[in-house]
Amino acid sequence: MNIVVYVKAMVDPDKASDDLTLVSEPAKNGTAVILNPYDKNAIEVALQLKEKYTGEVTAVSFGGDIETEKVLREALSLGCDHAFKVNDEGYESLDAFSPMLGSVLGKVPVADVSYFITGREAADDNQSIIGASIAAAVDADFVDNVDEIEFLENHSLKLVSRWDQSELSGIYEKTPLVISVTDTINTPRLPSFKAKMQAKKAKLDEVKVSDLTDLDLTQLNNLREKVDSTGVFEPEVINKENIIYDLEQDEQAVDKLMDNLKEKGIL
């Protein structure tokens, strides 16, 4: 049984808000690219599955050369066994706003996969749709927002999904299974030096979108033309009118604030 984990290269949020051009051209500054933090939790789950049930973990990433290479090598240094780069030549706008990306990723040729793991969302677009579309592409059940995992006998898993106001726990025996995980499910392990050195030299497997023959490219292109998601902008700065007291200048600051809140009927 093998495990596939999907990882996304994204621009470091701290850097993106300082320089919008990074968002449209992340490759221009490779150091601004990071591995989506949620995907680290996904990798950790994949590695735990491997340790529990044996098998190999393949990390798969879609996107430009520089970005995917960086995050895949990081995935290898964390302990993934193989890395698969899905090249997007000619498919630059295959983006997070259609299930097509999942359709493509689901077609990546890895044999005998029991579990497909992904982070709940990518910290750049916050879409949280990739797991569902992979599940549709590989015709598997999908368990989302998994916040707790327990490894039972006979390759069955106890999973607890947690949403804003509810949770679902259950035992899942059927494979293949697609799982998306939260960023509170575990503490990702640290990259070991030896794995890191190996990851530096490792060969990455590569496949082009157009090589994935059983993919319906017309449908893909068709949808692609109808969605334009290139517009990124900074939110309007709302300068709220506020009342600020300074405790150092005014010993009565707290009393004044509380009086004010009471007067206005807020407290």
Partner: protein
């Protein structure tokens, strides 16, 4: 002139310092009576919230004239009672003198008032691309406090200690005279270096009211390595190998699994890679990724050659924070694992660390008391915490005394010093006396009485 009635202090001081800067008697908050350790308590008769060098000078002139004890306090984060007015008198609170006055980009200096917090200096300098390297664990301490104890911290092996970053000081002498020591100069052989005498004197020789600090350019890249070992001997014997490699890490920290366990219990978090006996935590910084990578790769190889079980590379900020946050909370975690504790902050020659830790383990066993510890092994400065647990008052006092006695004697035997960075204050005074030559103590006393003939400035501290 002697003061007959202590209640007169307020009247006299209020003639030179505005009344709103004074707190007297019953209005003085308990917080002014103790420091972070909390084991020593005494309130002053008057608190002066000084706003300027002139305020301090005016108050000291009065203190000197009437022979009133005067003690200086910053943020009160000390661990040895150095800022407590054990004889009452005047407590000069400098936490309100907290302005950053000048960043001189050409001379690479930063001029600050003594009440500026260490974390504020760090943030201010780094925002502008500069760096103030001394890095004691307590980031909410004031720079004045750091100077008066010559605080060290994690980065001492590569960058040195507070003393190495003080270019100039404005100091108010016990007489109230204002002195300017040092300057924005890199070299200086102009007479006695009184600046270096004041640094580390714990407020017994003068009051620092302004400091000009040396800055360096901020290193662009930082990587840490977490290196587990099977036992502490092999971890610590790797340290000299690292230090001889020609690559100087910014930090070499050592801790054992008991600290990790306390932290896990205390925080409810999982320490990454928790199931090892003992750890070294190393840090590297520099101006280019390639250079830093080259450095840590070489050191990682050296660690493997010396028996490391693995080497984890913390090259991403989240993971680095995870591990360093845990390291930063060990003290609190140990504190919460017991009912009461006291600390030993010895510094020993680096070649003697294994010997000293072995001795501590042995002492803990013989005295049947827990002594968890960790420390800056890169510079030989170790922190041990003696835990009271369930012992009753009398047994605890006896055990604590025995352990102090044993550890400080051993420290002296291996060529160490009583305190690496926390200072002597009141708590360690007895042990300083035992560990230094009589001639040294006597010279220190001569200096003190020459500078402060009435013994009014932080009396009965250090010596």
């Amino acid at each position: 002139m002697e003061l007959k009635d202590k209640t007169d202090i307020f009247k006299i001081v209020s003639q030179v310092v505005p009344e709103k800067q004074l707190i007297q008697k019953s209005e003085i908050s308990e917080d002014y009576g103790h420091d972070e350790m909390g084991t020593i308590f005494h309130l002053p008769d008057l608190v002066v919230k000084a706003q300027s060098t002139e305020d301090v000078s005016a108050v000291m002139k009065i203190a000197n004239e009437y022979k009133i004890p005067a003690v200086v306090r910053g943020a009160g984060t000390g661990l040895v009672g150095g800022s407590i007015a054990i004889k009452g008198g005047i407590l000069i609170d400098l936490s309100g003198m907290n302005q950053i006055k000048e960043l001189d980009a050409d001379n690479l200096t930063l001029t600050v008032e003594p009440g500026v917090l260490l974390m504020d200096i760090k943030e201010y300098a780094e925002k502008k691309g500069f760096f103030y390297p001394p890095d004691p664990g307590e980031k909410s301490a004031t720079i004045g406090g750091n100077i008066s104890t010559n605080a060290g911290g994690m980065r001492a092996i590569k960058y040195g200690v507070t003393r190495d970053y003080v270019r100039a000081l404005t100091v108010v002498a016990p007489s109230g005279d204002i002195m300017h020591l040092g300057g924005k100069v890199v070299k200086n052989s102009s007479g006695f270096d009184l600046k270096d005498l004041v640094i580390g004197s714990e407020g017994t020789l003068g009051i620092v009211t302004e400091a000009t600090l040396k800055l360096i350019m901020k290193p662009e890249y930082t990587v840490s390595l977490l290196v587990p070992f099977e036992n502490f001997e092999s971890a610590i014997s790797t340290v000299p190998v690292i230090l001889r490699s020609g690559i100087t890490p910014t930090a070499v920290e050592f801790f054992e699994n008991d600290s990790v366990n306390f932290w896990e219990e205390f925080s409810g978090k999982v320490f990454p890679e928790a199931n090892h006996q003992t750890y070294l935590l190393l840090s590297f910084d520099g101006q280019s990724t390639e250079r830093v990578e080259e450095d840590y790769e070489k050191i990682a190889e050296l660690c493997f050659e010396n028996g490391a079980e693995d080497v984890y590379v913390l090259d991403d900020e989240i993971q680095r924070n995870q591990v360093w946050t845990a390291r930063g909370a060990f003290l609190e975690a140990i504190k919460s694992s017991t009912t009461e504790m006291d600390e030993v902050d010895v510094v020993v020659p680096r070649s003697k660390i294994v010997e000293f830790i072995t001795f501590t383990h042995k002492t803990a066993q013989e005295q049947n008391i827990r002594i968890p510890g960790f420390g800056h092994v890169g510079d030989g400065n170790l922190h041990f915490y003696i835990c009271r647990d369930d012992y009753d008052d009398a047994t605890w006092k006896e055990k604590l005394n025995n352990v102090f006695e044993l550890l400080y004697t051993e420290g002296k035997k291996v060529g160490g010093q009583v305190s690496g960075e926390h200072g002597i204050g009141l708590a360690k005074r007895e042990y300083l006396g035992q560990s230094l030559d009589d001639s040294v103590i006597s010279m220190m006393r001569s200096v003190k009485s020459a500078v402060d003939p009435h013994n009014i400035l932080n009396p009965d501290k250090v010596i």
